[in-house]
Symmetry: C2
Subunit: 478 residues, 2 copies
């Protein structure tokens, strides 16, 4: 990739300039200059503001041409009518990597904005600028202490996020951090004046810090190229995509948001089928899929054993698995017989799904259960389903901790190498039980076991995760 060095500069900048850094922080928000400083960016940071000599104690320059060294990434944060002049300053100073934060262009659908869009496009093309935006949050790279927003996670991890929306970039990374999902590189690119999702994708394909790629797309300029790039990358780095604007109202909203053409639903159905990209339907859904890819290795199939307690809940689990596309084969007669040796028939279900409170009274029973279920040839993966309200009543939460510690610890020695996930729920209005759930989440996530609230999120994630591995296996000879 010939452009690699430019993208290296964008994502690992040693110098930054903020055009339009204000002398005073705006009310209720530190501003981009403030955010970059607060997050602890260690490179050289230049405020550009012709009306002041210093911004937050840092010497300010009237324009980019006056700055004594080349700038790896220029961030433009002046009102829309002043953006063309700022871009010309970029061209004049030879700084070609630009993030335009400002909005008010073609996405407004109004004459003035459309005309400004035409102007900046012309300047960018003529000057050979590489523009992220306008109308977006730009770049977040925790490893480089680089961000444009308030207090994102400081941890870095193997997930990249290419997001057309700046709000989603902040929301998704925040939500994901609760699940222990951290990021290599995040870019929000808004109206995609020159750089589009595919450009970032090509760079991330070769990025050693990135193993999983998540995307939020409103529109795309070159669909054929996106298909080609995603199909190629997806073989080694799963590409998980939230495609917005596929409904009538969504199409209109996308046009108002980033001035994008959403594209038809049939085209996108075909895109997902052909590329094997993993399709998600909300930010939460995207986080749940990422969690599965983050911690689970691979699978030979989609057959699941569900181990829980509560009959109605077991029925719900079975329906949720089937609806999502997982199958729940009944255990063999031999396994059912062994289960009957420590699970009485009255009030318990042992065929799969399993509904048996005795299993959860003693960790030795969980162990035997996991061992038996995972030894079944017809089972590819295991889900433990915890209704905390019920276990809490046993002894006010002590036992919940014991189960959590077992599942986070020794359990994986007894699953015959098969994937294990845990789901939990509480319906009772008791903050102590909810807190017990949060502790379980922490323990399991720290030990690399995906944990979900409720079934739907888990079954949906597992089914698509398994489908991805089938796609990769069948399409690509190993």
């Amino acid at each position: 990739m010939e452009n690699r060095k430019y993208f290296d500069a964008i994502f690992h900048p040693r110098t930054l300039a903020v055009v339009g850094a204000p002398q005073e922080r705006p009310l209720g928000w530190p501003g981009i200059f403030g955010c970059i400083r607060d997050y602890g960016y260690p490179g050289r940071l230049y405020p550009i503001n012709p009306r002041v000599t210093h911004v937050e104690g840092v010497r300010s320059y009237p324009d980019l041409v006056s700055v004594p060294e080349p700038i790896d990434l220029v961030i433009i944060s002046v009102p829309a009518p002043a953006v063309p002049a700022a871009l010309m300053d970029c061209v004049a100073s030879g700084n070609r990597n630009v993030h335009i934060f400002t909005s008010g262009f073609n996405e407004t659908g109004e004459e003035k904005g459309v005309e400004l869009h035409r102007q900046i496009l012309e300047i960018a093309h003529a000057g050979g600028l590489r523009v992220i935006g306008p109308n977006c949050m730009g770049v977040y790279v925790p490893k480089e202490r680089l961000t444009t927003w308030v207090n994102p996670s400081r941890k870095d991890g193997p997930v990249a996020f290419v997001s057309q929306s700046g709000g989603h970039a902040q929301d998704f990374t925040g939500f994901a951090s609760r699940l222990g999902i951290h990021f290599s590189k995040v870019v929000s690119y808004g109206n995609a004046l020159t750089l589009d999702s595919t450009d970032f994708l090509e760079y991330l394909a070769g990025d050693p810090d990135t193993q999983i790629i998540t995307m939020y797309l409103e529109g795309v300029k070159d669909g054929r190229r996106l298909l080609e790039v995603v199909s190629r990358i997806n073989r080694t780095k799963p590409v998980i995509i939230l495609k917005a604007g596929l409904t009538e109202a969504g199409t209109r909203a996308v046009a108002s948001h980033t001035g994008s053409m959403a594209g038809g639903e049939h085209i996108w159905d075909a895109f997902f089928k052909m590329s094997g990209a993993v399709r998600v339907f909300s930010l939460e859904d995207m986080a749940h899929l990422t969690l599965a890819f983050r911690h689970l290795d691979t699978t030979g199939g989609n057959r699941i054993a569900v181990i829980g307690h509560g009959g109605g809940i077991a029925v719900s689990a079975a329906d949720a698995c089937s609806s999502a596309g997982l199958t729940i084969p009944p255990f063999s007669a031999e396994t059912q017989e062994e289960l009957r040796s420590f699970i009485p028939s009255s009030g318990n279900m042992i065929r799969n799904p399993v509904d048996a409170i005795p299993i959860f009274i003693d960790t030795a029973n969980i162990q035997q259960m996991l061992d038996l279920a995972s030894s079944e040839l017809d089972i590819d993966m295991l889900m433990v389903s915890l209704s905390l309200d019920w276990i809490y009543d046993v002894d006010g939460g002590v036992h919940i901790n014991r189960i959590a510690e077992y599942l986070a610890g020794h359990a994986r020695e007894f699953v015959n190498g098969k994937p294990l996930v845990v789901t939990w729920r509480t319906y009772r209005n008791d903050p102590r039980i909810f807190d017990a759930g949060l502790r379980i989440e922490r323990l399991l996530l720290e030990s690399g076991i995906p944990v979900y609230r409720g079934f739907e999120s888990a079954t949906g994630a597992l089914a698509r995760w398994a489908r991805y591995h089938r796609f990769i296996r069948e399409r690509i000879p190993v």
Copy 2:
């Protein structure tokens, strides 16, 4: 309904007997006798236990025949093999209203259980018993201080729940109470030996305390009768049904759980179409629908205005509305022009969905927004969408409270009588923001405004709520 007086006795019992009340409370659970006492049942409660003279200080009787007065509801909690004798005691003593808590019958699929099922069915039929169960939790009536489980809500309300699962009865009522949904009568009826869902429905149709009926069904014995009864009741009391076991795995699980035949998916599709019953897909979904019916009056259509802030979120809202079956018509040119007078074009969307942080900076702006949107002829209902992470940053939560108080208070004077719901979300991992969300929920629910976390739950609920009203309107001449 000729059986009304028997059901009156079951749901408003002045006398109860618990057959098999143990001298000592079981480990980790108070037992049924203990639950009834702990909840403060004010009627006369008789323990039946031939091996002791007293249970928890209450005089015990060896059998029902020895009890000095008629029993409105006998609760049987002895091991399965002892149930036939207990039922014969009911027949001998002339106490015909029976709840069998015990499990271990045809749902086990094992010879012993199936034989016991045959025996108790024969005794019940021969003796004219009205049996709730076996394998269930029976009756919960907060107004009568009657329950068989640990510490349910003490508040009563206009919602009835007819649940084949005892676990779901506890889980759903617990979850619903967080949303301020309280119950008139709840019955969990398990294997449905003699009394089936339709019997309870017919009674609830005439119950003055019940305005909304929720149901969890695994199987049903007389589908034609259910269709007839639901179709009739649904005209005046919305019937909201979670039908389980419609997948292959779910069908098997239902057989193991309550020994029921789940029925085919096509039959149930037709059932919902013909009866107009509101179909839900999980306990959470059922609570979200109930919340809409509880607080919203009626609607002429399914056209919604979405008022929020954040562009990506606005696109998500539009997609969620469209996917659920709501339409989001663009506002008229006049309304858009009026909106532009206080919402700048840069960074804001005003066509519907609305993405405009200025609206949320000043409650006068929210008011003008609500007034303008609800004055549109093409708008039937309003959704305010709050991304708390963003509003929190304005001033650390003070403003969130101001918005919540306005929405819970004066807002309804400016919606032109149209339904208003609120959705909120936080993605940031900050307990203070989550707590602010909980405060909003409390305030709004107390003032009768449905509030939802995330869009999907809200749009799904509103779409089906609107569809119900359309069904009722078109099928029944007013």
